[in-house]
Symmetry: C2
Subunit: 469 residues, 2 copies
């Protein structure tokens, strides 16, 4: 339904940013049209790289007038294809990568204001330079950008203590579909004056407006961490350990990651990682406390060992060792690539249901395709498991990957049975859009379509993403 922009329209767009920042040659555009997993490769006549909110606004005014589709893109690290244009070749990419300013850091009010194109790492570093913490933390933090983090409501490894990107945002500046600018750059902790507009745009994946600036929450920098790598006999034991750790630490648990033995095997074999424990256990937990009472982790582990929630553990004795533990966690995705195809599911269920979910999903997958290897890891503390299924040994990779949708069907059925989410932290984008009717009620979809019509009446903002047709 999108309209192919005319040469004249393209020239008008280019004039806003200047020829240097209006990329039209295929080589220059290539990096914007392909995401890093190579699942989506789009086409576009033009990539625009505006440098100010005002330029974004002028671009949207032209788009609104000419009914040209715009695909906003920040760090191009998204895992659901939301940032890639369709193959029609009609959609223009609007990259925010030149809008990287850290506009201000106010340690006395614990806020940081940044342009949408600032990388997450730059935001973290600006906070650290002011002796503060910006707690959002994820694998792609060196290249993902804060506008994308907010547009996808990114999660990561510290959600347990600090929440998702949504919880870390106080205010937004958004360019609307018609080019008007909403200045919602609040620095306030409390403001009950009318409807909540900020949260409409967070997690909307650029389909309701383009986030150009944000006011973010900062926290005191933790003075200490206690980190342990723990062998646990089962996911149920890990869950009991989670409760114990939250209670005995006085809620100082900032990360609680579950890893299967397969993960240690893969990272040892392919990435040369050394095991933290000599004991081989079916499951492990990487747990971290921030600013705990001294030796809290030791008291937790002692009780866990007595109660059988844990069978062995190593406490990081230095920052280097702490980093070594985290390296294992960070290398999991990469290590899987050496083991053939992997069908991935970014799911969540209510925290207490994770063990049951894993048992039922594994059984269902085993029925569907015997011999699959279960690389289920992730944020147990949030009920968010990256339920990744590595192909059976010896199977053809292509044949396995052809089963992606059918495998999803099998897994999602178990997820939905437990009131779970089929996209806990990666969003819908293009990847899961066709599932929306399966997972959302007619009432919910009706409200979502209503919001889309209200804020983007001509359907020019990232069309064909998130919502089903």
């Amino acid at each position: 339904m999108t309209i192919k922009p005319s040469a004249e329209t393209l020239a008008r767009f280019a004039a806003v940013v200047g020829e240097k920042n209006a990329i039209r040659d295929p080589a220059g555009m290539a990096g914007y049209l392909r995401e890093w997993r190579d699942i989506y490769v789009g086409k576009s006549p033009l990539v625009l790289r505006p440098s100010t909110t005002e330029e974004v606004s002028r671009i949207l005014k032209i788009a609104h007038e000419t009914r040209t589709a715009i695909v906003p893109q920040a760090g191009n690290t998204g895992l659901a294809g939301g940032q890639i244009p369709h193959e029609s070749g009609h959609e223009i990419v609007l990259s925010l990568e030149r809008m990287t300013k850290i506009v201000g850091v106010a340690p006395d009010e614990n806020t940081l204001t940044a342009e949408a194109g600032a990388t997450l790492k730059a935001v973290q570093e600006a906070a650290a330079a002011a002796d503060r913490l910006f707690p959002l933390s994820l694998a792609s933090e060196g290249s993902c950008r804060i506008g994308g983090n907010l547009s996808t409501n990114a999660g990561g490894v510290q959600v347990l203590m600090y929440g998702n990107a949504r919880d870390l945002c106080l205010g937004l500046e958004v360019v609307l579909a018609d080019g008007r600018v909403w200045d919602g750059l609040s620095h306030l902790r409390k403001d009950n004056t009318g409807y909540d507009l900020r949260n409409m745009f967070i997690g909307a994946e650029g389909t309701l407006g383009i986030i150009t600036r944000a006011v973010l929450k900062l926290y005191p920098k933790p003075q200490s961490h206690e980190t342990a790598f723990i062998a646990v006999p089962s996911p149920a034991a890990a869950l009991s350990l989670l409760s114990l750790a939250r209670e005995l630490s006085g809620n100082r648990l900032s990360a609680f990651e579950l890893l299967p033995e397969l993960a240690l095997g893969f990272t040892e074999k392919h990435m040369g990682v050394r095991r933290p424990l000599t004991q081989v256990s079916p499951w492990y937990v990487l747990a971290e406390l921030s600013d705990p009472v001294s030796e809290a982790i030791v008291r937790i582990l002692e009780e866990a060992l007595v109660k059988g929630f844990a069978t062995d553990a190593a406490v990081a004795a230095s920052d280097t060792q702490r980093q070594d533990f985290w390296t294992i966690r960070e290398l999991l995705s990469e290590s899987q690539k050496f083991e053939g195809g992997s069908i991935k599911h970014d799911i969540s269920v209510p925290v207490a249901r994770v063990p049951q979910f894993l048992a039922e999903a594994n059984a269902a997958v085993e029925r569907f395709l015997p011999g699959c290897r279960f690389m289920s890891f992730g944020h147990l503390g949030d009920g968010n498991i990256h339920y990744n299924v590595s192909q059976p040994l010896g199977m053809d990779k292509g044949a396995f990957l052809d089963m992606w949708e059918a495998m999803n069907d099998v897994v999602f059925e178990v997820v939905l049975k437990h009131g779970g989410s089929i996209s806990a932290e990666h969003g819908i984008g293009r990847l899961k859009r066709h599932r929306m009717r399966q997972i959302k009620s007619a009432v919910a979809l009706d409200m979502m379509h209503g919001l889309k019509r209200l804020l983007d009446p001509h359907n020019i903002l990232n069309p064909g993403k998130v919502l089903p047709d």
Copy 2:
């Protein structure tokens, strides 16, 4: 613009809940038509007391069909008149007070599900019975109800650590204006599947839908508290103490309330409260740590005394003494009543600007009406001050209260200059609706009106509240 419901329509409404729960006599209705500060006294032909979501849905279907205005009411403790019908006598009150079930408590997933009419106290107690904390805490907790807390995004004294009502909610069930029910009762910590619908209804004061159930977040019950009543020389010193306390406690500060000497004078004189400190100081802070490292409060106070951020302090040596400190805070509003009229402002500014705001607002008020007494107290940690102005001694109370709007003008000008909010935690209701054009941009108002049209096309849900005409 509302339509007077016919006798037949009234009978249809009454039939949904049964005559016993359809109140029409003036004496029976009186308690629903008047709020506790007696600022608004409304009229209504009928008060409905449904007992299930299904009954609420049937009521809304009739209202939608007959274009009858519905005013949802929970605990009737709101401070902005949002829960009281207009004087037209056309609007029907829908009280949620019979829907009080605690539907479920799941300590292993840290959630509690309740009907909208459950009192905040009942929710707190159900959480405590499961050895968990529901941290929302405010003066009216014995009578306010969770549906009202969510509809006004209530704040209170623990926002610093746990956030507003919005931050404590995982899922909602909402009856829409046309009677359809949105089941958004998610128990998930992470779910990025489409637009955020929950936050539209939170803080919307019943103008976009009627919240009938909620899934709430629970926390581990703190094992220990350290509480201090601290004399500070100035708001600026209090702010420095705030930073110090957050950093030295490892972010364990759960409350940080500012009180002026006038507050201690009033509570001593009128409520018989004993001062915690012999020293008379222009300002005081009531600070509390939850689950701190042992004696953290002592280390904070030692450093604060050396640096001059504090001049004296008492640390609660028992739970009784802790409660005594909190009693002073809780009696502030009541103690003011003995000192004549009080013009109130529930404002917030960026935390670091509180001292400057207080200085400028006091100077402006003094110019406007010499002799006013400044009873400014509240949640300094959130930048939220209840900037209450007690009348000059000897002035006529009525003459003073006639200056309400003019006084608001003076104070709000200073609030807006500092990027603040004129309603930090009480909402807009009727009280501040006429200010919306002053404080919101045309773009913001346009989106808010769009949301209202989308979700309540016939303007039957709490009409004439929140949004300006």
